[in-house]
Amino acid sequence: MSSTPGPGLTLARVRGTVGWGLFAAALLLYPIVFADAFYRDIGVTFLLAAISASAWNILGGYAGQVSVGHSMFFGLGAYPPLLLYTLFGWSPLVGVPLGILLSIALAMAIGMPTFRLTGHYFSMATIAVAELIRIFVSTWAFVGGAIGLQGPATARGWWDVTFRSELPYYYLFLAVLALVLAVTAVIERRRFGFYLRAIKASERAARSLGVPVRQTKMKALVLSATFTSVAGSLYALKTGFIDPDSGFGILVSVQMVIVAALGGAGMLFGPLLGALILIPLQTATNTWFGGSGSGLTYILYGGIIVLIARFEPGGLFELWHRLAPRRWRGGDAA
């Protein structure tokens, strides 16, 4: 992550590039090697979790503003595609930009008051807003109320983004994930990324160096909300169904936090690593314990939160850095 080459660091960077190149190749080949629908579905779920958590990571990880209400943007992205289809029979794709616009509007509206709060108070405020929206949506018949909305059952054309196979979804999601990670990687190197990390470390110190804290946080929130909204749209397109719980439920928000924190919040590939571990684990528990699996998900999440908070707040990447022998990770210059 360091920008100055020192002794041994160039080698580390080469190794890192090769490592991630191999990982990218593995992601590209996965659904072809594991052609079974079950495994492809896990792959798609993994990608969606990685996209959402990477979107959350911009605000929660880099800027340290831990939102536990990001489902508000996920839901706002998920509803419009299916709503416009239900109302007018339009392609669900039309709803994607609408979801983004709504999410940006909501981000700006909640950013103003909530950024006055810090730490846990900010987190609690975001939970409250997300829950308010969930309850409101479940009582509003226009958007399907508690029952929810459905998408096209069979595709009228490619523009309905409704496929029998998991394969098109897999590569669509992979492309979006690549986009989110690319944007994050660019941010990380630029002034904006430095300002986010400075704000996370100490707002007071950041201010004293001329960092416009309020605007910087707002930019991070808007960007984070945009990508989370896209994640929600992708979910709706793939599932063809959305209800208040799967769109605005707290579990949606909590998953983003856990996936990012498990791998390493505020690190480019943290959410990816987190999703790589959590999603297979979650699928396994759901499969073994059948329909009662969703309750078990809560227990799993709770357990992971306790473990991360107690033993490794930096996530698995931090653990790796602490434990791995120097020659494995290529040796830091220091």
Binding site: F194, L209, A334
Partner: protein, 241 residues
Amino acid sequence: MLLEAKSVAKAFGNFWAVSGADLAVEEGEIIGLIGPNGAGKSTFFNCLAGETMPTSGRIAFNGQDVTRASPEARARAGIGRTFQVPTTFEDMSVLHNVMVGAFLRHPHRGDALDHARRIVALTGLRPEQRARSLGTPGRKRLEIARVLATDPRLLLLDESLAGLTPTELHEAIALVRRIHEMGVTIVIVEHIMEVIMTLTKRVLVFNQGHVIASGTPEAVVRDEAVIEAYLGRAHRRHQES
């Protein structure tokens, strides 16, 4: 006049931490603010830095009123500050810490990187080291480097040299000298008289929210009111007898 504070006062409830302090700083000066604990110098310092808003009074920087300006606006205007307890960005390297400061005047990464490298070299820190692994002297040095990267015209140092060993102290004094020679005006809050005596030409002494004396450091340490403020009346009675 680079900085002009006029009858600055700050009340916390009924308690006046600072009651009517004046300070005029010419470009190129090094001014010391001293006084016993709780004298109000830190509160006054925070009013200058924009951390606390004065209850009354006026602060002008470079001819512009900054009394109510935010810390970030002051940084943009050219007022830099350090903290009494160092607040470095722990997870970032020394170089990246300094880059945060450098980005203020150099929005592009490459320029900020070059600028930060120059500043880090000046302070003798290792650019790759994580801030977390620095000791107190290193942190204080890093804080100075970070704020220096914002190209301040006025630097407010809040006990930046406290808690150092004699060798570290001499290195730190040399660093402040070098910064001053670069043309930066400095206001320094300090307990250590060695720092005040060697660095400053003019000193303001605070006691119980008032400026009780000002002048050259040599004159101030002989001032009766100052001696009394530091050592109490008993000391004077003892001397007289």
